[in-house]
């Protein structure tokens, strides 16, 4: 059993991280702190998950979110997608394994992966609406959010959602408020089977290695850790029985990275665009300086008058 995180004291304590620990801030240039905090991570062991949705309700409760009562559309997934109020969601996939001939019911808890290289933050045009702390948590700052939805496009995992009520972007905060006082995320606390554990990223990797060894002993030779390098690793990781096929788990990205479209848009595109605009304007100025205005001459007017006179 992974050691339980002790309950907090009732006394107020200083937050364990804050503004001074920011390493990235959307649409801003900041100086990151000299020393990085120990990176934290949440490990979701899909092979231990029973799909009970306790994490979903814990998330709703802790974050005081009210989701709509939906309908059944033929599956166990409810709500049917992440929403501005549902920051985590169990996704169920029925998979008939062609190798073993066995049916597998793959249940994955979806939500923000807290990428080391966050696409949302890269896409965000509003200064300080998305921040990344040195412990790896990527957080949305509601006050600075303008609701443009660029983070939705920037995210390689399609996670953020825009609220129809207040037009702000929402996603899992990794319970940054709980982590700040030494607690684990609410979903981890609620998980009955320790399918969700929380600790430092190194601890999580070590724990995952143990779980992967167990899965391999049960015939899942492709079991592995999902900590995708395309986004320089994540602070929410999965233990998968089929780490070679993440796509099986309700379309988990095989090789997630910030979309080249987004990279082009927010990277080179920004500079190339501004440059092109600037050059065009400059070309006009230079042209005018060199060439001077194109004036209508007296001759032109006389010719016109002549032409008009001839006709009238």
């Amino acid at each position: 059993m992974f050691p339980a995180i002790p309950n907090p004291t009732t006394e107020k304590s200083a937050a364990k991280f804050g503004e001074k620990d920011m390493i990235r801030r959307s649409a801003s240039t900041i100086t990151p702190p000299a020393k990085r905090q120990t990176e934290v991570a949440k490990l979701i062991d899909v092979s231990k998950c029973i799909g009970c949705k306790a994490c979903q309700t814990a998330c709703l409760e802790w974050n005081q979110l009210t989701e709509e009562v939906g309908v059944n559309v033929g599956v166990y997934d409810n709500p049917h997608d992440l929403t501005a109020n549902s920051w985590t969601l169990m996704r169920y996939t029925e998979y008939e394994n062609p190798e073993s001939g066995n049916l597998e019911w793959l249940i994955r808890k979806d939500g923000c992966m807290h990428c080391e290289d966050p696409g949302c933050l890269k896409a965000c045009p509003s200064p300080g609406a998305i921040v990344q702390y040195s412990n790896g948590i990527v957080d949305f700052v509601k006050e600075n959010c303008i609701g443009c939805g660029y983070c939705v496009k920037g995210c390689p995992f399609n996670i953020p959602r825009i609220s129809k009520a207040d037009h702000k972007a929402y996603k899992c905060t990794l319970c940054s408020d709980r982590v700040a006082v030494g607690q684990g995320p609410a979903c981890q606390k609620a998980c009955p089977t320790q399918a969700i554990v929380f600790g430092t990223k190194d601890e999580m990797k070590a724990w995952a290695a143990k779980r992967i060894a167990d899965l391999k002993s049960r015939g899942f030779d492709k079991a592995g850790l999902y900590d995708p390098p395309g986004v320089q690793g994540t602070h929410v990781m999965y233990v998968l029985h089929h780490a070679d096929k993440p796509q099986l788990y309700a379309g988990l990205a095989n090789n997630p990275r910030i979309s080249p479209l987004v990279e082009a848009w927010k990277g080179v595109g920004k500079y190339a665009g501004l440059a092109l605009i600037g050059l065009t304007a400059a070309a006009g100025v230079i042209h005018h300086i060199l060439q001077g205005p194109n004036r209508v001459s007296k001759e032109d007017e006389e010719n016109a008058e002549k032409l008009a006179g001839g006709k009238s």
Partner: protein
């Protein structure tokens, strides 16, 4: 519970939740622990992760438990006895049993007396007209010394062992496949894995719940599982056991305290009409040992009974008036819920008090229940929530299509506090009593159950005092000496269950061992002369001289075996693993170092747990480890203790798609609880070719949480699970509307078309199963639905009278969505 008792002596989960982590193999069958017991299921994931334990799931559906299992085998609902009997046959015919355990710790060596017979599915003694068995031919041969005759070689043709071999021989893997539809390879893998534990080195735990109980042969399902565990030597050892998972945090406590229709607290029997005197009652139950040197615990029955009566009637209970025995009601028949609603339906019942009970949802054949409720003069609902039952008179369109103008029943709703709004104790599945402190103020004007019942009691007693009436004497005799008669405290009530010395108790030498007024430390202190009281002997010790032990919260586990001896109090006598003497061999040595638990250290029994044994009886005395049974051993053969046979037999459900392939003459369980007038409500396979089964969803708690917004969010609407093949056959679309109907009613819901349900080939015929979650109704915030029990048949188990919710026949068709 009416199967574990006859087998082992006590009817409760044998091991503890925390012990499950010691197991090497888990069989989940007749239950879906991950779905219905997610928090307890963590010990399964622990055993898997930390010990490399394997998990097998046998279920009609590929469940959430199966999602994390190492092996899944499908089975047709209602065919568990055939499957498990196949395992018994496999173990016996391949000689893969734990022989020493079977020889010494079960009644395999006992001889059954001449006259017993088994023919075409019927045991000797069947009376077809009464649909009951005369069980006298199912007893042991008694020798000249007054003890039962044994043949320790197990060779005697009338030995239980040989009878068993013969009895289970028909259940070959081919037969299992024919009856249960389980592919042979999948079945044999289960057998093989189970057999790997029949050696004292490895342990298997079996976890089951209502998927086994809720059949017309439910008790026999559990019986067969218990037999497998005995053949493998998996009872009384860490990581073993037959573990009944209870559906509420305190349902074990409720059962213990005696809401069973034929019991008083602590599983003592309520008198029957044939037992007019205390002596006639006790005479039938104070069992004599069946072997020399045996200590049948039931010799103490008299002490427990008298202490109960003293607790009930206080000073008014005297030796002269048989301690008030005459005031107890004498049962003519068992008033289980099926009979109750049958009587209500006949108009023989004036009023019904539902305390935390939603029978319109919970009882089989909801239409019959609704018709009955309308015949009542009054209905009282004592509940923290508004139940569908309390609103049975209200029209909810097609989900409760009634005409309120035609219903004259007066309904009283008494709002009661919920669990967190009152102090008290909870007893979990593994018999551990834990105190809970009040965490929140009562909601508005709600009052606790105790206050409401005390108020009712005091008012009724007052009415009798002032106005008189028939049969007032018992009511007046009840001892109600609480500090505040209007509000007995939870503390006082637990003390009362525990019991105390009424005078100074002295030992043989005259030394005072327990002062008058002091709480008793164990039920061993109870006396039959009226000098002790105690309303429920099994809890004695929880509130002894040392105080309220249910409040203990020490999570130390010195042995590392999940024995949290100082956490709460686990009845009986704070034992965590029952029958734990069986964890050592007859010489008192552990069966293996790996499974070391309780052992004889040369002077006494010791180990991490409280020995389920007299601690000082040496192995040389050869006293059996199952001290509750007069045999001293567990029962592979249950004698006459079960209504439908000493051995299990495969009985088809009352509504079955096939004729019984094993015994074609059997139509259902011959001794099942069924009322003649209900027989017309059973459907046949021609009209209703599809098997249906009902179950709970993890997102909801029974019928309670459909009124809770958050639960409704994560599972908003009733649905019908079916295979892709059935959907294709019927033209049903994934997520489309379907109607499911049985001979008794009809429901509508969304189709969840899934690979997790597959058609099975039963006796050469393709049989489809649909799954129906039961958590939805017409009251609440989740989407409205018809009560699922509108479909279920009114037939109960032969022993527990539990209705057959888990296997019945329906038909299915696609429909255009209902107008909600």
């Amino acid at each position: 519970m009416s199967s574990l008792g006859p087998t082992f002596g006590r009817g409760a989960m044998t091991n503890s939740w925390t012990d499950i982590r010691n197991t090497d193999l888990v069989l989940i069958m007749g239950g879906n622990a991950a779905e219905a017991h997610p928090c307890g299921f963590k010990w399964v994931t622990e055993a898997k992760a930390e010990r490399g334990a394997k998990l097998m799931v046998v279920d009609p559906r590929f469940t959430r438990s199966a999602a994390v299992a190492d092996h899944y085998a499908p089975i047709r609902p209602g065919s568990d006895v055939a499957f498990l009997s196949g395992v018994v046959n496999y173990l016996l015919s391949n000689d893969k049993i734990h022989k020493e355990y079977v020889r010494h710790y079960t009644n395999s060596a006992y001889l059954v007396k001449e006259g017993y017979a088994f023919d075409e599915g019927f045991f000797s003694g069947y009376d077809e007209s009464k649909a009951t068995y005369d069980r006298s031919s199912w007893e042991y041969e008694i020798g000249a010394d007054g003890y039962a005759v044994r043949d320790m070689t197990l060779e005697h043709p009338r030995s239980v062992f040989q009878l068993m071999k013969k009895h289970f021989a028909p259940y070959t893997p081919e037969m299992v496949a024919r009856v249960s539809g389980t592919p042979q390879d999948k079945f044999l893998k289960v057998c093989d894995w189970i057999a790997s534990t029949a050696n004292g080195e490895r342990a298997m735990t079996i976890m089951y719940a209502l998927g086994w109980t809720q059949h017309s042969h439910g008790a026999q399902n559990i019986r067969t599982a218990a037999m497998i565990q005995l053949l493998c030597g998996n009872i009384g050892i860490p990581g073993g056991g037959v573990n009944a998972l209870r559906g509420h945090s305190n349902v074990q406590g409720i059962t213990d305290v005696g809401t069973l229709t034929a019991a008083i607290p602590g599983y003592l029997a309520l008198p029957t009409e044939s037992e007019p005197t205390l002596e006639s009652h006790l005479g039938k139950r104070t069992f004599k040992p069946l072997q020399a040197n045996q200590t049948s615990y039931w010799q103490n029955y008299r002490k427990f009974y008298v202490s109960f009566l003293k607790s009930y009637f206080g000073a008014k209970a005297t030796p002269e008036n048989n301690f008030g025995y005459d005031w107890l009601p004498k049962l003519d028949v068992a008033y289980d819920c099926l009979r109750m609603f049958d009587l209500i339906n006949q108009g023989k019942t004036t009023g019904l008090i539902c305390q935390g009970f939603n029978p319109l949802m919970a009882i089989a054949s909801s239409n019959k229940s609704a018709a009955g409720l309308a015949k009542l003069k009054f209905l009282v609902s004592i509940d923290p929530i508004e139940t569908d039952t309390a609103r049975f008179w209200e029209n909810h369109g097609e989900f409760n299509d009634v005409d309120p103008a035609k219903i004259q029943t007066e309904v009283f709703m008494l709002p009661v506090t919920s669990f967190a709004e009152e102090a008290g104790s909870l007893t979990n599945s593994s018999r551990c009593i834990s105190w809970k402190w009040q965490a929140a103020d009562p909601y508005h004007d709600s009052r606790t159950d105790v206050v409401i019942l005390a108020d009712l009691f005091n008012r009724i007693r007052k009415l009798y005092e002032t106005q008189g009436g028939k049969g007032a004497e018992p009511l007046m005799a009840v001892d109600w000496s609480y500090k505040d008669p209007a509000e007995p405290s939870a503390d006082e009530l637990l003390k009362e269950l525990n019991g105390k010395a009424l005078v100074d108790l002295k030992d043989a030498s005259g030394k005072v061992t327990r002062q008058a007024g002091s709480q008793l430390a164990s039920f061993g202190e109870m006396r039959d002369d009226g000098s002790t009281d105690g309303a429920m002997w099994i809890y004695t010790g929880v509130y002894g001289p040392a105080g309220n032990l249910s409040q203990r919260r020490d999570n130390a586990d010195p042995s590392g075996l999940g024995v949290y001896g100082n956490w709460g109090f686990s009845w009986p006598a704070n034992r965590r693993i029952q029958y734990n003497r069986a964890s050592a061999d007859p010489e008192g040595k552990p069966w293996s170092e790996r499974k070391k638990f309780m052992f004889w250290n040369g002077e006494r029994w010791t180990g991490p747990d409280v020995p389920d044994y007299v601690p000082t009886i040496p192995p040389s005395q050869a006293t059996g480890p199952f001290i509750m049974n007069p045999e001293g051993v567990s029962r592979l053969w249950v004698r006459g203790l079960m209504a439908d046979g000493p051995f299990p037999v495969h009985y088809e459900p009352f509504e079955s798609p096939v004729t019984n392939p094993v015994y074609p003459k059997l139509k259902g369980n011959p001794a099942a609880r069924v009322f003649e007038r209900d027989r017309a409500s059973f459907g046949n396979a021609k009209e209703f070719p599809i098997v249906a089964t009902t179950y709970r969803l993890v997102e909801h708690f029974h019928y309670w949480t459909k009124g809770v917004h958050m639960n409704a969010v994560v599972q908003p609407e009733f649905f019908v699970e079916m295979s892709e093949q059935l959907a294709a056959e019927k033209g049903i679309k994934h997520g489309g509307w379907v109607r499911v109907w049985s001979k008794r009613g009809s429901v509508k819901g969304k189709a969840v078309v899934t690979k997790r349900l597959k058609p099975l080939t039963i006796d050469g015929k393709t049989v489809h199963t649909v799954g129906l979650p039961l958590n939805f109704g017409f009251i609440g915030v989740a989407r409205k639905a018809n009560p699922i029990n509108g479909l279920t048949p009114p037939v109960g188990d032969a022993n527990s009278q539990t209705p057959e919710y888990k296997a019945f026949l329906v038909n299915v068709e696609p429909i255009v969505g209902p107008v909600a």
